[in-house]
Symmetry: D3
Subunit: 171 residues, 6 copies
């Protein structure tokens, strides 16, 4: 059995890793969709799809998990989004998601929809981690070690800080 | 004389029907544009263009009205929108709209722009009807009988309720 | 039972009308898709979607046929095309098509696919009719009377002739 | 040395002119990018790219400035935006911008990024000028004389006022 | 009076220059549209819009011609193309074109359409010049001196030669 | 060192596998781009990106190769294509390609461009293999065993045969 799990992974953190480990124990193969793959360089979506792909791959190669990591573009047309996902992924029967729109779209196409079991949501939150990156708090313990390395390789913290500088608008 | 009337029809209700009946008394043929046709499966735009097309067609076939129902895609480029509408519709000279942007765009292209006469706006409002669908109040008396049937056929009320479920976000 | 029939209708001719009459005898409602709806003003696709909509509607209102006429945009992404059609149309279970790609795409989505019964293909052919329009031969007897009127209203024959003028290219 | 300066120029005002005059004293050629070129007919972006092109060209032809004015389309894909700009402009090495996203995107591509020196920001502000246009205050002294003429030619003030009319929504 | 002239200018040659000089003698301002602006790096369209913009601007600044040079994107939707051009350009009333589709589209919108007077078409042809660039024949005398400089600055001849190398396909 | 190799993999065959094995011996990680990812269901591009992803992943998991498999969408805008690839992939410095356009685009961005060493091009050719699939010849020995399984799972041979059926066009 194959299952699909979609997220934005901005960045990929230990809570994400726990979800994937739990799901992978229940399925043969897990497809990790990298959502909003065309987004990057904003405070909410700082990392490119390629950078997020690297975070996930580097982390998961330390585990015995059968997975695919696949970038998924946003298309602003809900009624065709499931077909678009299907064309980019191996066939799957189950989707894990906490998002009501995604749940509805896949339910109407007769997929089995499950909610992933979250892990320590208080600490492991993309929003909180991005905030720590910005204000100089420690964030490294909240993500896998390999993710720290990727963010260093791409100088990610400085990108986020520069993006947060106040505009000085010539308008 | 042909006239154009655009709306989102989420859903098509009795106020809409009255507007169309009044306009059709003044013109030879009325073109009913189904706006934002690519939108569906959100709380504001729950129904697909095909579902809205069915609501309108099933209702209007009970009246002696010469009409066309035509899906119109949003294009995020105001300066070409009128041309896009023109390419999808029979030629027309008059547009009925209450929206200031639509009015301006068609005025600059020398169309006659009129405001449709609304009918009991207090009861007949898409926003209010969608809210009633969500919270379990009676809504059926506010739309034509055929629209009730269409929404039943597509299980529309459950769609809206599922879309409103609180997200449980793995972010 | 609802069935879907897609064509380009450049222009809508008597062969098309016969196909629709035959299918409508077998189904409750027929959905007439106006394919390549964004195309116009070429020798192969001279008429806009709106003009073709008018040809179909004016003709069919003389017959007791339950139909929808719906413009369908080409999207250069085969794997999502069925979903796109589904979002623009009322639900249907059967598709009539002679095109192998369309047949395959709908078959993989479990639709019933049938071939429409053609009618006097020697005379009734869009390609041949457009050629006659261009070279000044009689074409009017090959299309329904209402189509002749539409083409006159939009000065369609002159459009085709002007489009065929030899380029005089400043390249 | 060539430099790039991007703005929306809604409308082009005297503060903009001063910025361009200062930059052009430092560089051989200045490329004036007309951002969000597909936007028009809203209260925030009332003028088309062509209208803004005319404002800039008519004004700058009175000065001895080597410039290019080039419309730049928004593309909702930050990671490719620099390439898109590069394909539309002559090669340049320096960009003047006060916007943190633009600064970051060009910095990552090794451009020299500078902040333009603003000029009397209190008076010369697009937002304030559009507000004056709307409420009938004097705005003409805040823009170059040629811009006044362009706005008259296109009846721009009436466009803004009509766009601000309250909607009377048939929804 | 303003006139519009569209071309691909791959590259801008002396025949083009003569056309522009002749038209500019008849009109107040000429708008030079740079067509297919998104195309580059092929044997038929080797130069980017920015490079072609530079060729035209550098050449025309030696003449007393009132012009605008404006990149125009191809949009695969004939019925809205005129509107798209209108939004990117100052208002104009006359278009010079030898292309039958462009002629038809602007004629239907009530523009005055004229054919530009070509100049020594035997020598001055983009196709022939690109062929000479490829096979090492002299081409420099066929384009304005400034165009030679631009093509040198961007190493254009080598680009064309590399693009013509035989593929060695791993397919 | 990371290298990028792009192909369409329609289907992934033993020649492809040999290329990847050779390159992976020279680099730390190889990024396998799945080109034209939006294409499927044609005789030239029968398989979806997801199906091709499965062919590659299933095959390579039998080898000790550090790789990423990443779908790459065609964008009809050569000048931004490299940026689009960069946003979807981990950073790389070398690209292996036999295609002259790809070579030129990456060369202009200062990548190291190498030609992959082909392996028995006579037998291992996507075009030839698709032809064998169509006419019933043996093809299974030309692709990795896992690819045979994937094509069976998706009933790929029948898809190709159905797509090749003669059209019976109602046009």
């Amino acid at each position: 059995m194959r299952a699909f799990l979609i997220g934005r992974w901005q960045p990929f953190h230990k809570g994400h890793l726990e979800i994937i480990k739990k799901i992978s124990a229940e399925v043969d193969e897990i497809i990790v969709g990298i959502g909003s793959c065309q987004k990057s360089h904003t405070l909410t979506d700082p990392f490119t799809a390629g950078e997020r792909m690297m975070m996930i791959t580097k982390t998961l190669e330390n585990y015995d998990i059968n997975y695919y990591a696949i970038p998924i573009i946003d298309i602003d047309y809900n009624a065709v989004w499931v077909s678009s996902v299907e064309s980019l992924t191996p066939p799957f029967t189950t989707i894990y998601t906490g998002n009501s729109l995604v749940r509805e779209l896949f339910s109407e196409r007769n997929y089995v929809v499950k909610k992933p079991e979250l892990y320590n949501r208080t600490d492991y939150s993309g929003t909180k981690i991005r905030k720590k990156m910005l204000d100089g708090s420690a964030w490294e313990h909240l993500v896998p070690e390999e993710v720290v390395k990727v963010i260093e390789e791409i100088d990610g913290i400085n990108r986020i800080r520069r993006l947060s500088e106040k505009d000085y608008d010539e308008e």
